[in-house]
Subunit: 661 residues, 2 copies
């Protein structure tokens, strides 16, 4: 076994503190234990409670060690790195050149042609005046260009956040009845969304958005897309009186009940432009080189339909109407930090903030991995948060990185955040000079643009994949889908997160266990059920436990292990095997243990001893060893109860039996 | 490596369904994959979704395979086993003999001498008339004797459940103002407690009580004990007007504010009997053979103090007063299934039911493991639940197995559940003939009995141990302690359970990772930090991941793995090592993976490929393999990306590099 060299030859019992100094870190586990051998299994290096806490906290909050670039640097470099760190613009601006500018101008103009009609449309989705959507496509992109670290993120209003904000605020206040209060709440919610995003990034709590798993989001987005599309029937059918509720049932019944309001002009124009937009979208998807067809389609259809309405004077088609020219007015005085509606503003801010953050980070990461650069999640959160807080003071509502526009940006050859600046400048020109042109733009074209945009959020392929690969993920997906469709956005999301967490707990509460066998000719021990070539080792039961041992599963594991022994006894009786003498538990996957787990192991050992069975732990991980040590349980295992691998345990114990004969 | 014999020589690509028939279960993972070798790593046997669901459900609900005794038996035996299963009394009654009876009579009389004064005291703790405590020591023990499987459990009212019931009901209704409604609610709560307990057992959801971990209970019991003891100052000091609140602050201020009501007679008698009881308790603890001293003390002190009050006519000492003779009256007509207080009754029932169940099961398990027999948790739950439902119809309130009385029972030599029957018969005699004797029993002696009983619940040794072994367990303990002390029982318990669950999630969200090295002379790979003798393998980074890869940690793990690579590069640069060529992830402890985990692994592989690094997975468990297969990711790993152990991977890849040279 080649083990002897590793054994403790030192009987001084001088404690484990020696690990810091000796090169061969064999363990003499405690003063009371004396010169016993643990077959090479050793404790982790001793650390104080404070050191452990510091290590744990740094793993929780700084897993990527963000300051590693500052190590061993001159002061000048440190300042330079700090500038780069806080303002990523300094990373790319010094090397910026004309070639890059040319690509960025093309892509910037392209995404502007998308951003203008989408901005107007999404603002309507949030029950806000159309111009707010344009304001939101001007200030936030400029701020992001300075602070953001993604090169491809196209910033502006997005459908999901707009929808959620519209729904949640509309439950409290109606825009048509009290427009000023509604606006105040929208800006306040935006402020809190930004605050929440920036704090998550600053406090390095970004992992919270990981709890909105992909499965949850697939279901959520599909549900939201369906509701939004149904709601757009208002515009597409020309209905005037429409429900403001966001569940599928009131929306559909509203469509049917208001049949007498359906307008044939609207229907023909609406559905034909929808058909055009969907066709161009398909073209863009099928042939990425023709992306400009789908990118240019919304603006083109806006222009065409506006001309049509203006020329033929179609008075029964609802239009946007007069829009005020000019730059973003300040809205800092409209933030609302007291009174009865503050709670709803904070709640709306938190939900839209988390959702838009999830979208922004996901989009940023997707393109970063596509183009092989890194995006720092926590820094991105700060950038998005600051941009929203600044936005809330300049008449913008919640913005983030849009998936569709970022894809167009990347396709159109965008190279740096400069494309966001070009886009913002285009929006600026629009705001200053082109606003009167939107007067006759019909609502139905905005509805068609929204439907085209959100239909891409229905990712049924992913849902099918979830079903195939992981049924519980699929369940989380379904529940967020139906939750959003029939109840509400927060309820749907809460249920889905609950199911995801339940899944983790279920895995811990009922972990896999199995009997292992030896694969002939190797020292490998694998599950007998899975590896048909694996063979039982006579007189041993080798059990694999595939989870940490916690209060939540200690009782289960004890019962389950006893059942394995009972079944093994039955097997031996049926096959005339040799009687059991030793139970080895492979602890490799027991990655942690709490006090209940320790008690369980102690009690199991006692129970087995009463049945004249030896209990051996193979390969306990560092933290488990440490807890066994601290709870003074190592003594009872010490001499022949701990091995580094199952193979060593089997070999050593078998040979000791042979020696006894 | 002795591996060649295990390789796939079969190029038919006939799919993994062959595992059911071939003896050598080497994998040909999918039709699309062709004759590639996976170095012996194989998929688990193929199962349908239904089979997997059945397996999972049977692991969740029937981990102990309760029906295994029915397999391969004749019908007569099956009926016999079924009788034994439902009524454990049939297991021991046929072999019952005079020797056993003698021990059970002694122990039954001993616990009766404890149960009578404790029953009266605990009923007062629940704000109920004293006689209810005696009723509750008569019917439930008889039912438990028939249905219960523990031989040592002494059944009756217990302090914690009494306290919680008294607190929670008193918040809604005051016994002194509306005694009938209060009684109705108490019986209804008892009914729901029993229903909840029996359903948990019947639906085999017993694992829910595991979530009240030992750490939580240590804190909770200590907090409850302190509050209860403080409350008993009412009796010990002779205070008449006392707060009915259960937080420490109102109780203490009540003690101080009512100073003018302190009665010197009460104080002298109360504290001297308390001193006696505590002394006898200490004697019982120190010398288990003298257990009868502490067992007889409560009844003796009741008799002595009653005689004292009766003889000296101490009118300023509050006494129990006239008690009605007679058996339990029916209370089925007092159950209350409608109206405004139903919710509070159900809630009280659920909380007291869960708490008393936890105590009963824990006590049963403790003595079963001490005496080396097994107690079936789910069956015990049904027994305790039925006994409480029956109790609620016969004027009893919540009962369970009491820790203190069960210990006395075991010490006094109780052998079977017959000791419960003897105890019940003694209580019956008391109820029928001895009730007038309690007329002059002073309240203060009941207070002293309660304090003596609950003081044993303060287990500071365990708390110190929790601090030493597991800081987060200690935090859960502290929070339930302070939660109970300063807020309320449900809040304290909820926070503690929350912390326990958070601990599980934290371990999953931020799992341990580490670089492994080879221990010279072996094929063992262990953490470099922990095993000083472990050595880096040139050109490889071997990473151990100690948790399932889920949505909650996929991003973290990706960042962390990249950071390990960066640090490894730094180390190589500093030590002139050979450049990295291969990253091996030891997946032994990655016991599960969801769709986010799969995406992460795929993406990591792509990122490493761009850096010309090979990604290898060593020893993926069955469920992970299955998911990789179903998500069509195996192909990308197939040829040289999967090995059964790190050792095999290193050996095989190194030799392939040598062959290339």
């Amino acid at each position: 076994m080649g083990l002897n060299t590793n054994r403790v030859e030192d009987g001084s019992g001088s404690g484990h503190a020696q690990q810091e100094t000796t090169t061969v870190s064999i363990l003499v586990p405690s003063e009371t234990m004396g010169p016993q051998e643990l077959h090479g299994v050793c404790l982790p290096p001793q650390k104080t409670t404070f050191q452990k806490l510091r290590h744990k906290l740094s793993e929780i909050f700084f897993p990527d060690d963000p300051l590693h670039r500052f190590k061993n640097q001159t002061n000048v470099n440190k300042i330079l790195f700090a500038l780069h760190f806080v303002f990523p613009v300094f990373q790319w601006a010094p090397n910026y050149n004309l070639t890059l500018l040319r690509s960025d101008v093309v892509s910037g103009l392209t995404i502007a042609s998308l951003a203008i009609p989408q901005g107007i449309s999404y603002a309507k989705l949030a029950n806000l005046p159309p111009v707010i959507g344009l304001y939101s496509s001007f200030v936030p992109p400029l701020i992001y260009a300075v602070l953001g670290s993604s090169k491809h993120l196209a910033v502006g209003p997005v459908s999901i956040a707009s929808l959620v904000m519209g729904t949640m605020l509309n439950d409290a206040v109606s825009y048509s009845l009290n427009p000023v209060l509604y606006l105040k709440l929208a800006f306040t919610a935006t402020f809190f969304a930004g605050l929440c995003q920036a704090s998550l990034g600053f406090l390095r709590l970004g992992f919270i958005i990981d709890f909105l798993s992909k499965a949850t989001l697939v279901g959520f987005m599909a549900g939201a897309a369906i509701i939004v599309s149904m709601q757009q029937l208002k515009g597409l059918l020309g209905i005037v009186n429409f429900t403001s509720k966001m569940q599928i049932i009131p929306v559909l019944s509203s469509v049917i009940e208001q049949r007498d309001e359906w307008s044939w002009h609207a229907i023909v124009m609406g559905f034909s432009s929808l058909a055009c937009l969907l066709t161009t979208r398909q073209i863009g998807l099928r042939k990425p080189k023709l992306f400009w067809v789908s990118a240019a389609a919304p603006l083109t259809s806006v222009i065409l339909s506006t001309v049509l309405v203006a020329v033929f004077k179609l008075h029964d088609v609802a239009t946007i109407g007069q829009l005020k020219k000019g730059l973003n007015p300040s809205s800092a005085n409209m933030l609302y930090f007291h009174g009865e509606f503050l709670a709803i503003a904070v709640k709306t801010g938190a939900v839209t903030g988390l959702l838009s953050l999830t979208e922004g980070i996901a989009v940023g990461r997707t393109f970063a991995s596509l183009k092989n650069y890194q995006v720092d999640g926590n820094k991105e959160m700060i950038a998005i948060g600051v941009m929203n807080m600044a936005g809330s003071c300049s008449s913008c509502y919640v913005t983030t990185g849009s998936f569709s526009r970022s894809a167009v940006n990347e396709n159109a050859g965008g190279q740096t955040a400069m494309s966001n600046i070009i886009m913002a400048l285009t929006v600026l020109v629009t705001l200053l000079f082109l606003m009167p042109l939107f007067r006759y733009t019909p609502d139905l074209i905005l509805a068609a643009i929204i439907v085209t945009a959100v239909i891409g959020l229905i990712d049924y392929q992913s849902a099918i994949n979830l079903w195939k690969v992981d049924k519980l993920d699929f369940l989380a997906c379904l529940s967020s889908f139906f939750g959003v469709l029939f109840v509400s956005v927060p309820v749907g999301l809460t249920i889905a997160v609950g199911i995801s967490v339940f899944k983790i707990l279920l895995h811990v509460t009922r972990p896999n266990t199995g009997v292992l066998g030896n694969i002939p000719g190797t020292e490998i021990y694998q599950d007998l059920d899975r590896y048909r070539e694996a063979q039982r080792v006579p007189s041993f039961v080798i059990l694999g436990v595939e989870a940490p041992i916690y209060f939540a599963n200690a009782t289960y594991l004890q019962e389950r292990i006893l059942r394995w022994l009972r079944e093994e006894d039955d097997w031996i009786a049926a096959n005339n095997g040799s009687t059991l003498k030793c139970v080895i538990i492979d602890m490799t996957a027991v990655t942690a243990m709490d006090t209940s787990g320790i008690s369980m192991v102690k009690e199991l050992k006692k129970m087995l001893e009463k049945r004249s069975l030896q209990l051996v732990l193979a390969n306990p991980v560092g933290s488990v060893m440490e807890k066994l040590h601290k709870s003074n349980s190592l003594e009872s295992f010490g001499s022949n109860g701990l091995y580094r691998t199952v193979g060593e345990a089997v070999a050593d114990i078998s040979s000791s039996w042979k020696a006894q004969l």
